[in-house]
């Protein structure tokens, strides 16, 4: 056991050093790296729902978008009247000082983590009583409804969008903005990973898996399934809200349906990334998100205009042909490496049968 622990230690410290050094090594790609961190966070939190709990949700985009709006609103609203800001060009008349900017985003992120988690808890009882495809469609409806409704509310910019506070101009270092958001998202990624890894080693994960495999039996065994389902959803909402808050600051402009509640892009991406990597594994979503991001960034510019067609085809191909994902495929190929015990005699017998 000690040997494996040491290998893990080397792997994790290596990854953290790589993560910390990345903005200096690939300084031209800081925004892309920030995106990658956020995508991994979204994929990992989706996996808690879809992979571990078996509740395939399209609704995590709701928390992502909420986090985005909340962070920006708090950041503005703490110091200036929000309505005047969003009305038109508020960002030109009101300027955040450096201290105000960082205070604002700090408080904003705090709010954007807590409020979505509270909302998930509040609606969880109603929504999580649905199962299977009804849950999927219901959450899809929730995400889109949120986008449509946000697009009609004046104080957060309605249809014309919401410009988030620009990075303080007093900081002369031109690289500072990119680095700030990168490290913020990297910290979120590390936090999420530690949290999810903790869940993977806990009884909570076993309960979630029991719910996935057979909810009625789990209930019959005396597990209060609803309680655990809601807690699981709240955990996802917490991290999705934070991810949204960081993304809002990075993009600098929030549109109700194209940026915040972007079910057509981000909402599908998180599902796709988790499935691509392998549902129900710790590393699957990480690998899936990384692969997806490289694929997307490499291809998006080459096939300008056709990217959505490619995305749609990719969804169909992945879902129809690789529903188990990369980790599932590896698991089938090398079961020993996943800690599955294979009876050698049995395997030989199977080979002979073929």
């Amino acid at each position: 056991m000690g040997n494996i622990k040491q290998k893990d230690l080397i792997l994790y410290s290596g990854l953290i050093i790589l993560g910390l050094a990345a903005p200096y090594l690939f300084s031209a790609f800081k925004v892309q790296l920030t995106y990658l961190c956020v995508l991994i966070v979204l994929a990992m939190t989706w996996n808690l729902q879809g992979g571990e709990m078996g509740y395939n949700t399209f609704g995590n985009i709701l928390f992502y978008g909420l986090g985005m709006y909340l962070t920006a609103s708090v950041q503005v609203g703490m110091f200036f009247p929000l309505a005047e800001w969003t009305e038109s060009g508020g960002e030109k008349t009101f300027v955040h000082t450096t201290a105000q900017y960082f205070q604002g985003i700090g408080v904003g992120l705090l709010v954007s983590a807590i409020v979505p988690a509270v909302i998930a808890g509040a609606i969880g009882y109603a929504i999580l009583g649905l199962r299977g495809h009804y849950f999927a469609i219901c959450t899809l409806g929730l995400g889109i409804a949120a986008g449509e409704i946000a697009g009609g509310i004046e104080i957060i910019g309605a249809g014309q969008g919401f410009t988030t506070p620009p990075f303080p101009a007093e900081i002369v270092d031109t690289e500072a903005r990119g680095k700030f958001f990168y490290f913020l998202s990297f910290a979120l990624l590390v936090g999420t990973f530690i949290f999810v890894k903790y869940i993977y080693g806990s009884r909570f994960r076993l309960i979630l898996n029991a719910i996935r495999d057979n909810e009625d039996k789990a209930e019959a065994m005396g597990i209060q399934t609803m309680k655990y389902k809601i807690v699981g959803w709240m955990c996802s909402a917490f991290f999705c809200g934070l991810a949204g808050g960081i993304m809002g600051g990075l993009i600098g402009y929030i549109d109700s349906t194209d940026v915040a509640f972007d079910g057509r892009e981000m909402g599908v991406f998180m599902v796709l990334m988790a499935i691509l990597g392998g549902k129900g594994t710790l590393w699957g979503p990480v690998i899936g998100a990384t692969l997806f991001h490289f694929f997307k960034e490499g291809l998006w510019t080459l096939i300008l205009g056709w990217q959505y067609v490619a995305l749609g085809v990719l969804i169909v191909v992945i879902v129809v042909y690789f529903p188990e994902g990369l980790m599932g495929w590896l698991r089938e190929k090398y079961p020993e490496r996943f800690g599955e015990v294979i009876d050698e005699k049995d395997r030989k017998a199977q080979v002979e049968l073929k």
Binding site: L130, G132, I137, G141, I144, A145, G305, G312, V319
Partner: protein, 288 residues
């Protein structure tokens, strides 16, 4: 008078929704798939009618041409993708058809442009109650055609050989197979018929409402909603709940404002599902 106006608009619109929902119920019941691309098939059907309108043919002919083309589109789609998701987890079909929907949206965006378009039927309007209620004749026409096709389809499903094969497959696919029904062909035909229904609805939408490449999803959600309220294979209930939905939408539009119309439709979906969930959970059951 606004009430009368909204009610009439809602009912006429609802009949159209019911037609799309009937296609949804058909494929759901027979093949056990939920087709997220349903709305995009509708919009594609609409664009076919719009294209013939651009060629100078009256767009009303779209209700005959569009379903014929859409039948083969549906058949092709089945052979390409759908046959691989039948018999699998419903979530797989939801995601796969979501992918198809994205492809369709983007291709329509390339071919027909991102503008909102409408085919002019030039049917004029009917004025009722001292000109206080205006009713476009195209809406009456569309409701009439919807009813006509729905009745024709019901008779076809009852009497024809294929219709009976489809109903047999819906009841028990294995038994149907044993008794010599080519289920693969039945599935393809079902999906084709569904696409044809979407084609008719699309052609009617092109003359009564507006077309845009990205407005497919609301139609999918509307038909899904109608089906879960009415149940599979209950045509009168589908018609009634379709009209109910149309009424709801017109009144939501009138009370909340047009910008919240689509939002209200999606919220209604959530509310209906949650309502049914609470009702069933009293009996310790859940939606299946």
């Amino acid at each position: 008078m606004l009430m009368v106006q909204a009610s009439l608009d809602g009912i006429l619109l609802g009949i159209l929704f019911a037609l799309i929902a009937y296609g949804m119920a058909l494929q759901w019941g027979v093949m056990n798939i939920i087709n997220i691309a349903q709305g995009d098939l509708v919009i594609l059907g609409g664009y076919i009618a719009y294209t013939i309108y651009l060629w100078g043919i009256h767009p009303a002919w779209g209700v005959i041409i569009s379903p014929i083309i859409m039948f083969f589109v549906g058949w092709g789609l089945y052979k390409l993708v759908i046959n691989k998701v039948v018999d699998r987890d419903l979530f797989i079909s939801i995601l796969a058809t979501f992918g198809i929907a994205i492809v369709f949206q983007q291709l329509m965006n390339f071919i027909f442009g991102a503008d909102v378009v409408v085919a002019q039927s030039e049917y004029g309007t009917t004025m009722l109650f001292d000109n206080s209620v205006t009713l476009p004749n195209s809406k009456i026409f569309s409701a009439f055609i919807s009813v006509l096709y729905a009745v024709a389809l019901v008779i076809y499903m009852k009497k024809s050989r294929l219709g009976r094969a489809i109903r047999a497959t819906a009841q028990n696919a294995r038994a149907a197979k044993i008794l010599g029904v080519d289920t693969e062909k039945v599935y393809a035909a079902t999906f084709g018929i569904n696409a044809a229904l979407c084609g008719i609805a699309g052609a009617l939408i092109s003359i009564t409402l507006t077309l845009h490449p990205y407005v497919g999803l609301p139609y999918t959600v509307r038909s899904f909603m109608i089906v879960i309220v009415a149940g599979l294979g209950n045509l009168p209930a589908v018609a009634v709940s379709g009209m109910g939905l149309g009424l709801f939408e017109e009144f939501a539009d009138y009370i909340l404002g047009t910008e919240f119309r689509i939002g209200a439709v999606f919220m209604l979906l959530v509310l209906i599902l949650v309502y049914r969930r609470f009702k069933l959970s009293k009996k310790r059951e859940y939606l299946k």
